[in-house]
């Protein structure tokens, strides 16, 4: 793949990157979240055809328009989020859309036998008659790999395949990868786990911010070198961090657990402080925020605000305790797309407007925040879905400011919005901290979280691996903790 450019409306996601994969090798793609790895793969398999650039596969230039074309040509992808049909059997999932037929009738016997043969070839222990939904994630993944093999794939792309596997399952996966290699199949492997990458990779290519950085044989690289390549830049002063006095502890989280996603997380948050939360995909940061905000069942631990223990069972309780959460999934649980800017702005604060609702006051408040946050909209009666992502985000920020929270949790507040709106939101967050509010800022962009925060909590797979003070911030350190499996031990006077 050479000079691949992919533009989404308003964003240049890939800026002319390249990738060269040799048959019979494992080629690992590395980079921070948003570096462009997944986008590049989506270009390759035809989910997002590239805006420009050339893809050459086995000597021929190819232009896949959809995944089916790629699949039939021998390129398959095993997604991080598997999407099986859970109520149907393994067998039917395996041959989905291409079941062997006798005339018009599906040949179930042949389908079943083919599955058994395939599983035997790969050394898989899966019952083809089992319902797909009853399999473990590991087994589902194996079935996906078997499916890739059944298409006679020459390239198999694996996006974070080990993120939900146990150690034994990972070993099994690696054995299968070795077998595929032996069959001269190329594997493109995306992962954040340094140890496994260096165990199985032949080649490593690093991307950063949609650009190609470097590519080399794995034996010529080591963990430190790769992290350096991934980070590669000095943190520039584009973040308007203003040091403001940090007050008393307002929120204390003690051994917070929420199912498997959050395990024993403890931290303190002070008035006027911006506490960053860094980590890679699946670190459990969003889940921690959801647990504090009552969106997720807390299975252990305690939360105190101003010294008093909170028992938050729902977002309603959280808001009553003056906690706000600007969620990561703007479309999923942020905006109500059909409703107007006005209705979206006042949504978390309807109690304020009495009975019957004071429409005049609602309009005034909305106008005020539209002006304050510089939201660009034709009118406050416009449906919010007609605005750009950045302006939608501003409306949501306005919604939370209107509730006058003491603690505002912002989860990926600038994801997918343009640079202008981004820096406006940054200034706003800093200003809020200056007014004595406490902010928790979750961000997958290291420069952002390092530029904005007073301290950073680093998480990895549900555990908290570090709390880093501003003076110690460095991308290398945070990335090291973000891939570490060692839980944080609070310094007891010595450090």
């Amino acid at each position: 793949m050479t000079d691949i450019v992919k533009e989404f409306p308003g964003v240049r996601a890939l800026k002319g990157v390249q990738l060269k994969v040799r048959p019979g090798t494992v080629h690992t793609l590395m980079g921070e979240n948003g570096a462009g790895k997944s986008t590049l793969m989506k270009c390759l398999i035809g989910i997002h055809p590239p805006t420009s650039g050339k893809i050459v596969f086995e000597g021929k230039e190819v232009h896949f328009k959809n995944t089916l074309e790629a699949l039939n040509s021998g390129i398959s992808m095993i997604h991080q989020e598997l999407s099986p049909v859970p109520e149907r059997s393994v067998c039917e999932n395996l041959w989905l859309g291409r079941a062997p037929r006798k005339g018009l009738i599906v040949d179930h016997k042949k389908m079943r036998q083919d599955s058994i043969d395939l599983f035997q070839k790969l050394g898989l222990d899966v019952d083809p008659d089992e319902k797909m939904g009853n399999l473990t994630v590991a087994k589902m993944q194996m079935v996906e790999i078997a499916k890739a093999v059944s298409y006679d794939s020459r390239i198999v792309i694996m996006d974070e395949p080990t993120s939900s596997l146990t150690d034994a399952e990972v070993e099994h996966l690696f054995r299968i990868i070795a077998e595929l290699k032996a069959k001269n199949v190329a594997i493109i492997y995306i992962s954040h786990k340094m140890d496994e990458i260096f165990r199985i990779s032949d080649d490593i290519t690093v991307y950063r911010d949609g650009e190609y950085i470097a590519s080399d044989r794995a034996e010529n690289l080591n963990v430190d070198k790769v992290i350096q390549l991934m980070v590669g830049r000095e943190v520039t002063e584009m973040f308007p961090k203003v040091d403001c006095p940090i007050g008393d502890t307002i929120l204390k989280v003690e051994n917070l657990s929420a199912g498997r996603a959050v395990k024993n997380v403890s931290f303190e948050l002070h008035r006027g402080e911006i506490l960053g939360m860094a980590g890679l995909v699946g670190a459990g940061r969003t889940e921690t925020a959801e647990a504090i905000f009552g969106m997720r069942t807390v299975t252990g631990g305690k939360i105190y605000k101003d010294g008093k223990e909170l028992h938050i069972k729902s977002p309603e309780d959280a808001i009553a305790n003056k906690i706000g959460l600007l969620t990561e999934d703007r479309r999923g649980n942020g905006i109500v797309g059909l409703l107007s800017i006005k209705d979206n702005t006042v949504l978390a604060n309807l109690k304020k407007y009495g009975f019957p609702l004071n429409h005049k006051k609602m309009r005034e408040d909305t106008e005020e925040y539209v002006k304050k946050l510089n939201t660009k909209t034709p009118s406050i009666d416009t449906p919010i879905q007609n605005l750009s992502g950045g302006n939608q985000q501003k409306v949501l920020v306005g919604r939370w400011l209107l509730t006058d929270p003491d603690i505002l949790i912002v989860d990926e507040p600038t994801r997918g919005i343009d640079v202008g709106a981004k820096s406006e939101i940054h200034s706003l967050i800093t200003k809020l901290a200056g007014e004595g509010k406490a902010i928790i800022m979750i961000s997958s962009e290291l420069p952002e979280v390092m530029g904005m925060s007073d301290r950073i909590v680093v998480m990895h797979e549900g555990i908290m691996t570090a709390v880093v003070d501003r003076k110690d911030f460095s991308s290398e350190l945070i990335l090291k903790y973000a891939t570490s499996d060692v839980p944080y031990q609070p310094a007891d006077g010595k450090q």
């Binding site: 905000f293 969106m295 729902s314 977002p315 309603e316 959280a318 808001i319 009553a320 959460l325 969620t327 999923g332 649980n333 942020g334 905006i335 109500v336 797309g337 059909l338 409703l339 209705d343 006042v346 949504l347 978390a348 309807l350 109690k351 407007y353 009975f355 019957p356 609702l357 429409h359 449906p383 879905q385 007609n386 919604r399 509730t403």
Partner: protein, 328 residues
């Protein structure tokens, strides 16, 4: 510029009223007696009961749900309340010897009964998250059967006081049921646009996850939606009994839920949730009423009338969806 934009928006939002006006004109030309005061009053009083049900069920549809129970719960409330207003000396009374209770008290009993029925299946929908279609289908069967268990014969010979709202005509001409209908219209409009409850239902229908994150108690509001639906059905049931003079466990309100849903749908209430205008639903009720009444007057076959209604229901949703898609 601004002004012409508003005009366009006004037309697009109220195009359904244009449809209604055109229909009325066509009917009036085809059958001049259609547009007589007498006939229009007949039309309105005929649609009032289903219309009140439509004002209830539109909340359920707005919340991305549905309520199939309302016809049957109307029947259940109708037979129970009717049995409380039969004369003591009436040989065929369901509760012999009880005598006639005061109508206002019986009305309150009916409303409370409606609220309890809706509260029960509303709670089941809100907390078990089973599809409202299924929950209310089950509730429909249970309510209808309960009405038949309560009495196996029509309850008749009801007190005049109880029948007042359903059948009284002011000056012998103007049916008071039309006033009840417009009062219910006003209450629905008020609930929907002037209260937190209304705003909450819009948000829940539009995006229940976002509503929850914004601190809205989704469960509580869903229960309120079905309580409101069921209270509307209770009112409709008591009006029906009052209007016809009897409550029949087997036939009162039979299939009315479908007419109510059709009216709310033709009126632009979106089954994907989050879109509803009370004025649109009013127009939807009237459009179906004009078709019912007009085609009868033109002596069009009953089956033909239903075909026309079917086409209008489907056609209106196709148009609405295209309109909404364009807006998105």
């Amino acid at each position: 510029m601004q002004k012409s934009f508003d005009k366009k928006k006004f037309l697009s939002q109220n195009s359904i009223w244009l449809v209604l006006i055109v229909l009325v004109i066509i009917m009036s030309i085809a059958q001049p007696s259609f547009f007589s005061v007498n006939n229009l009053l007949t039309l309105l009083s005929g649609e009032a009961v289903k219309g009140i049900m439509a004002f209830g069920v539109m909340f359920a549809i707005l919340s991305k749900g549905i309520d199939l129970t309302i016809g049957a719960s109307a029947a259940l409330v109708a037979v129970i309340t009717a049995s409380l207003v039969q004369p003591a000396d009436y040989a065929n009374a369901i509760l012999p010897g009880l005598g006639t209770l005061p109508a206002p008290l019986v009305f309150l009993i009916g409303l409370a009964l409606g609220a309890v029925i809706g509260g029960i299946y509303g709670a089941i929908i809100a907390y078990t998250k089973i599809p409202p279609f299924i929950a209310t289908l089950g509730a429909q069967l249970i309510c209808r059967a309960s009405a038949k268990i309560y009495t196996n014969r029509p309850v008749s010979n009801l007190s005049d006081d109880f029948r007042f709202l359903g059948s009284y005509r002011i000056g012998g001409v103007f049916p008071i049921i039309i006033i009840v209908f417009f009062v219910m219209f006003a209450i629905s409009a008020f609930l929907l646009t002037q209260t937190r409850f209304g705003k909450n239902v819009y948000a829940i229908g539009g995006n229940d996850q976002a509503a929850r994150v914004a601190g809205i108690n989704v469960e509580k509001n869903l229960i309120l939606v079905y309580i409101w639906c069921s209270v509307c059905a209770a009112i409709a049931g008591m009006l029906l009994a009052g209007r016809s003079g009897s409550a029949d466990p087997a036939n009162t309100g039979l299939n009315y839920e479908l007419d109510a849903i059709a009216a709310a749908t033709v009126g632009g209430t979106s089954h994907t949730g989050g879109i509803c205008r009370v004025s649109g639903v009013l127009a939807g009720i009237l459009i179906l009423g004009v078709i019912n009444n007009g085609l009868v007057m033109l002596k069009v076959d009953d089956n033909m009338t239903n075909i026309v209604k079917g086409l209008i229901i489907v056609g209106s949703v196709v148009l609405d969806m295209r309109k909404n898609a364009k807006r998105a």
